[in-house]
Chain length 215, copies 2
DNA sequence: GTCTATACGGTGATAGAC
DNA sequence: GTCTATCACCGTATAGAC
């Protein structure tokens, strides 16, 4: 059976690396094009120009415009997920500290700013009409909701119903503040949204209020 | 100065009525086209077909595609605003009852369902790239936030800071549930979102818990 | 006021040279 | 792998007949 469709391992690896590099290059360009042009006016031409490559390259690596945009959305979710996971990992084992870390991570300007929010909302605005987006959104958002529920379950081991409610409210409230930040960037600020969310948390969890204080 | 560029009053009125009728006809068609095609693939052609009119009519009454879509967004906000205003008006003078009425109005399937949410999010996804949308959004959302703050101020006359927080949380939490309903229509339901919001309200306002119960 | 026809500029995808 | 050239198509807006 051997005498496989061979090529030296080293060369194969180099090809793979080149492919990954190009994919990254095109994804970054896609992201920049959406930020400046929106999803509507992002075309293979605008992406190619941002990347400093030809249109053909984007098609070669992503098959179609739709494939490219779907991968861009997945990439966005991966970056986001890595960020909040790192944050709760770094917060140690105390559930209150982990919950606070997750909230603060959500409003970190590194992943929550006008540009990135405009990309999120551009995709979400199309989600109903592009089924692929919906599948990606569900997959990743589920991870986050489970993580929040897990933290809350540890925080309130004696009251799973209340833990479930709190988890739902935290998830929903942070989403709501993202929307406020996106729609009214002159009224809301990251720091303000974070403070408001933590204040809500202290009001909802008075017994942990001292451990949910950013100071 | 008279001898104005006249035309008999009756005729002028009839023209105005016809214009209003046509505008409504085209706006409704625009709305239907967005629901079925999304904002990206809504064109003058799809709107004209939905309306059973020619492309020229849409341009005649709304100047351009952009003008048409902006008016459609404004129309959406007016319908929404009328709905929640009617709801709090009908709730009487008790602040807790008014607050609950506002929340319940927000999840009324009449104005909160998969179709309408997809239209809202389609516009919000483009907001950053179409300045006109932002102006309309700010104008109308401000009315709602002021109304909520007003209700909360009546509810907690002795504690304006807390009233302000509660108002902010109600506004943001309902927005967040709209997003959940839009992104995960198989997981969230209108009734569930309403119940969760009211439960949050009772947790945040324990002294009014009995008056914030839907039963 | 309403229509049809059309100008003009993209758009995604493909073919084929290098 | 990467490029350029090219295809068939669709988008808005306008012009002008009725």
């Amino acid at each position: 059976m051997p005498i496989a469709p061979t090529e030296p391992p080293r060369q194969r690896k180099e090809r793979k690396q080149n492919a990954d590099k190009r994919r990254r290059q095109v994804l970054d360009a896609t992201y920049r094009s959406i930020v400046t042009n929106g999803l509507q006016r992002t075309t293979l031409a605008t992406v190619a120009e941002e990347a400093g490559l030809s249109q053909g390259v984007a098609v070669f690596y992503f098959k179609s415009k739709n494939g490219l945009l779907s991968e861009a959305l997945r990439d966005l979710y991966i970056t986001y997920e890595t960020h909040w996971q790192d944050a709760i990992d770094a917060a140690g084992t105390d559930a209150a500290a982990r919950l606070m870390a997750l909230v603060r991570a959500d409003f970190d300007p590194k992943i929550c700013n006008a540009s990135i929010l405009s990309v999120w909302f551009a995709f979400w605005g199309e989600q109903k009409f592009t089924p692929q987006y919906g599948a990606i959104t569900s997959e990743y958002d589920d991870n986050r909701l489970r993580a929040i529920r897990d933290i809350c379950a540890h925080l309130l081991p004696a009251d799973p119903d209340r833990a479930h409610d709190i988890a739902d409210w935290v998830d929903t409230l942070t989403d709501g503040y993202w929307q406020n930040l996106h729609l009214f960037p002159t009224v809301y600020t990251n720091a303000g949204a974070e403070r408001s969310t933590l204040r809500a948390l202290r009001a909802l969890l008075p017994e942990f209020a001292d451990r949910l204080n950013p100071d």
